[in-house]
Assembly symmetry: C2
Homo-oligomer: 271 residues x 2
């Protein structure tokens, strides 16, 4: 593929920008929690340029198949694609892909005719949709390591995840258009306070409902839990016109949205 | 997954092979139809290497968004991505992506437990799923031109579309495993004879049913027509366990398959 023939990023600029972003949000949030945090995500770019053509071809196909839901389920990034995924996430491609999805969603949102009853709804997932856990995954192999919920929950408790800027823009756009915004996350009710804190610190506000997993929802597959919540919304008379999520389990199932927007995520898969 | 780590082909080989394949099938079929056809698809590789970084970044994101169904609907390939799509289709990436999808589908098919009643079904779309219209699209800008049904129908009448080899392999695999194979296409009943001729010439045989659009189905959106046909299958007691198609309208809607496999197609979109 072309992308792999000629790496398509301006390394220093974006890397500096990304570090600045993380450093800033982490520094800000560290003070409110009193937790010392590293200010720099270490990243060795040299490795990227050593990826050979065969590996890039393989990893390009792997990533496309993941994003189109052809590989399902999967536990970790293939070992040989570790440097590739790191490069994708930290370079310009991930940002460009995120921007594209939100622009398409925004264009669709503007075209939709809303009712006058305030029952037009847009659903957003949280992790890797509104908030980025890239600082956490940068410390944990960008998906090469098997997901460790204890460690991840500690990161969630820091409430330090930065906003995905293109999603924040879309979030404000759909809200301004008059959509009711539902946040539907696989996070637990126990994480409500830190989740609200993190969302607000990252610039999200005025959502209509934040739905987290109640004790009864624990252990359910995401697609089952999220479908059930959408069904409840539909029963309450909401028309689900848009749904943004980085997992297919955010989007598929029953009571599906009129349009779904799949944000990129080659780091992990949730059934 | 391991099998795909080190693709075993070389660009020149593949390109030559592709041309040879098209040349051969066209030559063979030309004689049965008495139609003179060009034996070589012209392709200027030099243009590809001139794509600049920004264009590649843009087109990579465009293609990913297309394959994940985020851009929907769309009429033509963006003008600036003409050379990019040509390169993708004629180079190794398209083949690698096709192979990946079929390997995932094959692995899934082997894992599924089939009933003893002969009611486990696998659905295949035809165009860009079993048969490749790449020779046609190579003559028509690889998706840069607005779709012209009259011209395309003339190409269909030639019954000259080669098999997508990875799909032919999957087709044989699922058949050997005991699936009933349904071919569900947007082509018209009027094209049944040439479609059967083309499929058989390309190596496909022994399908259980070939479903084409009846006069009543004309004008229906593909997703509506195909959902209705899947519903009929379900009513007849078939369990739709696998579905392979290059369009999301092959896969989404009602009576969806347990697993769907989205083959790549950045050349055209069918609502």
């Amino acid at each position: 593929m072309n992308a792999s023939k000629f790496p398509t990023f301006l390394p220093c600029f974006l890397l500096s920008f990304t570090f600045l972003l993380f450093s800033t949000s982490q520094a800000t949030l560290a003070s409110s929690h009193g937790l010392p945090r590293p200010l720099i995500v270490e990243y060795d770019r040299a490795a990227v340029y050593e990826l050979d053509e065969e590996v890039k071809l393989f990893c390009d196909s792997w990533r496309l198949a993941v994003e189109a839901n052809n590989i399902n389920p999967w536990k970790t990034v293939p070992q040989e694609c570790g440097a590739y995924v790191k490069d994708y996430m930290m370079g310009r491609a991930y940002s460009a892909d995120l921007d594209r999805v939100s622009r398409e969603a925004g264009a669709y949102a503007k075209k939709v005719e809303l009712g006058s009853d305030g029952r037009d709804a847009w659903i957003f997932d949280i992790d890797e949709t509104l908030l980025s856990n890239l600082p956490y995954y940068a410390d944990h192999g960008f998906g090469l390591e098997v997901f460790n919920s204890e460690r991840f929950d500690k990161w969630v408790d820091e409430a330090a995840a930065p906003a995905i800027q293109s999603s924040l823009k879309l979030y404000k756009e759909v809200m301004d258009l008059g959509f009711k915004v539902f946040l539907l996350t696989g996070r637990s009710e126990k994480q409500r306070a830190v989740t609200v804190e993190n969302l607000i610190n990252a610039g999200f506000q005025n959502w209509d409902e934040l739905i987290l997993r109640a004790p009864d929802d624990q252990g359910k597959q995401a697609v089952v839990y999220k479908s059930a919540k959408r069904e409840e919304m539909a029963k309450e008379g909401y028309r689900i016109l848009g749904n943004s999520g980085d997992q297919w389990s955010d989007l598929l199932g029953s009571s599906m949205s009129s349009r779904s927007f799949k944000l990129p995520n080659p780091m992990y898969y949730i059934l």
